[in-house]
Amino acid sequence: MPSETHATETLRAEFEATILPHFDGAFRLAMWLIRDRVEAEDVVQETFSQALQSFHRFQRGSNARAWILTIMRHVRANRNRTRRRSPLDLDGEDQLQRVPAVEQTPQHVTAGEILEALAVLPAGYQEVVLLCDVEDLSYREIASVMDLPIGTVMSRLHRARRLLRTALAEYAAGQGIGRRDEDAGDNPNAQVHGESR
């Protein structure tokens, strides 16, 4: 039936326009959180295939990025369950109790430094920070993607920032962030975190 084909084509075109632009972002997030390229590719491919199949359920006008990231989190959780890997949220609460309060946010932090600092946070905290800062989701959207109460999202963000400030301050004390001004060719993208290919 031509009308049905037309409808499918329209849906596909809409999918390409609204969902596919988030492919690169979703992959980067998967790559960061999973730290294994092959697994990240499998997760992302499965995520976008599922998204295409359930695209008719996507609420027009809502945040497409939040939608795709929610699907991706389900895909990751399912794969971890069937492979009996550890659950997604390694809280590391105990590690956080000992963090001294650094109230001043350091300036002139380079790309490499911020990614290094982020990498030492517990996984669940890294994810909250990335969904907020990189994916630009609201607290409510983060809560929905991660299936957490909104209060937990806020307290995690608060603690994650404190951890980041502390890590960056330690970094500055040990290696001298201010010194970076001299490194003219300093590549911000070099070695962002444990190479995992």
Partner: protein, 275 residues
């Protein structure tokens, strides 16, 4: 509101999730507290740096082969058919941007070395000269800054009221009034974690950046402009204004940049002393 209270809610303020009346209290506090304005700006800069780092990290990028495979799987078409060249452009654009940024770093752009000769700004202000040159290069010339820029009005409302009239003040300066300098645009942007109020202008064929950054260590009285960096074909003249460093960056001759800074200094120093 006390500073410690602000620090406790800075996160929610940035996210725009505070109730209206609390939001007003925060804005009132920021109006009168340079330290908290600085902290807020540092936080915003840190977030933008993280986003840029993440979006441009080659380690995190998908393989082009993988992208093409999944695309053809999802669209039911081979990408080589070129039937929707327009639609693949987001990928091409992202790839180009990454290349531009990566190439920039490979070529050693970014902050040059500060001159050893004494500059017009205080030491704290001169230390920002390299960032100012980098911002001019990436933002004004290459349009390749990692982050979308924010309007001066928005930046004034959220981080530092001094940005509000920056463009107008430059517009009232002698070089603009006399026709020797034409304003092209103005905004707030971040280069390598340093935030600037940025007015982009043109003199002849040369692009000129006027950059303003808050620094608590700038001398209160202000200082006369002088050349504080000369590297990679860019001259940076800088001077102190109350609570801020001001930078004039261009590939014009050193004397011309300095002259421009001298003619801009009176209005900018007067304005920032009030702001």
């Amino acid at each position: 509101m006390k500073c410690v209270e602000f620090r406790g809610m800075a996160e929610s303020y940035q996210a725009g999730e505070l109730p209206v009346d609390t939001n007003h209290e925060v804005i009132a506090h920021l109006d009168g507290c340079a330290a908290c304005r600085g902290e807020l700006e540092a936080r915003v800069a840190l977030r933008l740096t993280l986003r840029a780092a993440f979006e441009h990290s080659p380690t995190l990028a998908p393989d082009t082969r993988f992208v093409a495979d999944v695309r053809s799987l999802l669209t039911g078409r081979s990408t080589s058919q070129g039937r929707f060249g327009g639609r693949t452009s987001w990928l091409a654009m992202a790839a180009t941007l990454i290349l531009v940024v990566a190439a920039g770093w490979a070529l050693g752009w970014g902050p040059g070395r500060p001159l050893s000769r004494p500059g017009g700004g205080s030491a704290a202000v001169s230390a920002l000269a390299a960032h100012a040159a980098g911002d001019h290069r990436y933002c004004a010339l290459e349009h390749a800054l990692d982050e979308p820029v924010i309007s001066l009005e928005e930046a004034a409302r959220r981080y530092n009221p001094a940005y509000a009239s920056l463009r107008d003040v430059v517009a009232q300066s002698a070089p603009v009034r006399e026709g020797g300098l034409e304003i092209l645009g103005a905004h707030w942007c971040v280069f390598k974690g340093q935030a600037f109020g940025h007015v982009i202008a043109q003199r002849g064929d040369h692009v000129v950046s006027i950059l303003v950054a808050p620094t608590s260590q700038a001398s209160a009285a202000g200082s006369p402009p002088s050349t504080c960096q000369s590297a990679d074909g860019l001259q940076v003249a800088c001077f102190d204004a109350r609570g801020h460093g001001v930078f004039v960056v261009s590939d014009l001759a050193e004397g011309d940049v300095l002259q421009l800074a001298r003619s801009l200094a009176p209005v900018l120093q007067a304005y920032l002393a009030e702001a």
